[in-house]
Symmetry: none
Subunit: 186 residues, 2 copies
DNA sequence: CGATACACGTGACTC
DNA sequence: TGAGTCACGTGTATC
């Protein structure tokens, strides 16, 4: 519903609490039960009491700071996970986990198709009536002579060269010609 | 820079809390847990109060359930983000954000290594005394004739072809020769 | 003893 | 009006 701004993208929104944090004026509203009521003697306040109170205040402020910091992180997380601009914290965490797994999988399958393989698949463009695809390989000792004939669509030489590079083959000589440009080359 | 590396791969560490989370005995028994020693010893409350108490108990239990659920999510997040098996919640969230950004960037540069750019940089291998790198481009109408001379290291033809493909240039003719194999080609 | 982090119960707010 | 979520102050454990 309210759910403002989807997608976020930069949100250095800074919110300050109205309560003044530095001074001690925010003390003793009414919730200081359990402790004996203090400050009758305004002048010579026992150091012990004051110190204890001060410490408690320090504690509560530290806790507030921690909470605030943690919420910042929540906002940051919300900003990097897509499609979660409206849910609550639990759902945000769950979606973050799902998103991370998604990204992981994507990375895995992307870089598994990258520089890993020995066997390389080369798509050689569409066959047509005028040009049959033909691949001819002749081995001479450790060297190979490859002769490829295909249509000139979709950059066949580039693909072939890339395939050769991926196979870590050293190219000593290469020749390419476009024979029937009026028909197969646009 | 980035060099994420080390992956870690799988660490489905499953941690269970020692405290029994199943809320079975929380129906009308509130005498367990935390045995606060100052318990002002409230005597029997009227039914109304009891109902209020029951409601409050429902509230407190709902809150406890929510907290528990949220912590589960935290554990789940910890399980999918590497290298954070010991930090606190805030650091966990921060690391999760960093990790997501890392993964995003990785995915981007992995899948943008394919069909994207217009301007292409080609590294042409190391120069040496015997082979000066030379690039000659002659424009004829809309066509370009490119003559490249370089050392035969690091697959120059493949790189050139890839660059041409990335620029979406149509190659009509290509020729490559390795002239001084005994010197520059190992 | 201070610093840090977490869980807890409770008030306040929403739909 | 009840179910859900959040922020708050506090108690408590670890270092």
């Amino acid at each position: 519903m309210l759910a403002p701004e989807l997608h976020t993208y930069l949100f250095t929104c800074r919110i300050t609490k109205p309560s003044s944090p530095s001074s001690d004026s925010a003390a003793s509203d009414q919730s200081d039960s359990s402790d004996s009521q203090l400050v009758v003697a305004h002048t010579k306040r026992p150091a012990k009491k004051k110190k204890g109170k001060n410490l408690a205040m320090n504690h509560v402020e530290a806790e507030r700071l921690r909470r605030e910091n943690l919420n910042k992180r929540f906002y940051a997380l919300r900003s990097v996970v897509p499609n979660v601009s409206k849910m609550d914290k639990a759902s945000l965490l769950a979606d973050a986990v799902c998103y991370i797994n998604e990204l992981k999988q994507k990375v895995d399958e992307l870089e598994a198709g990258g520089p890993k393989l020995k066997k390389v698949k080369v798509e050689m463009g569409a066959k047509n009536t005028y040009n049959k695809n033909k691949v001819d390989v002749k081995m001479v000792g450790e060297d190979a002579m490859i002769r490829v004939q295909s249509a000139n669509t979709d950059m066949p030489t580039s693909k072939l060269m890339s395939a050769l590079r991926k196979m870590e083959a050293v190219v000593h000589h290469a020749s390419m010609s476009c024979v029937v440009c009026s028909i197969c080359c646009r």
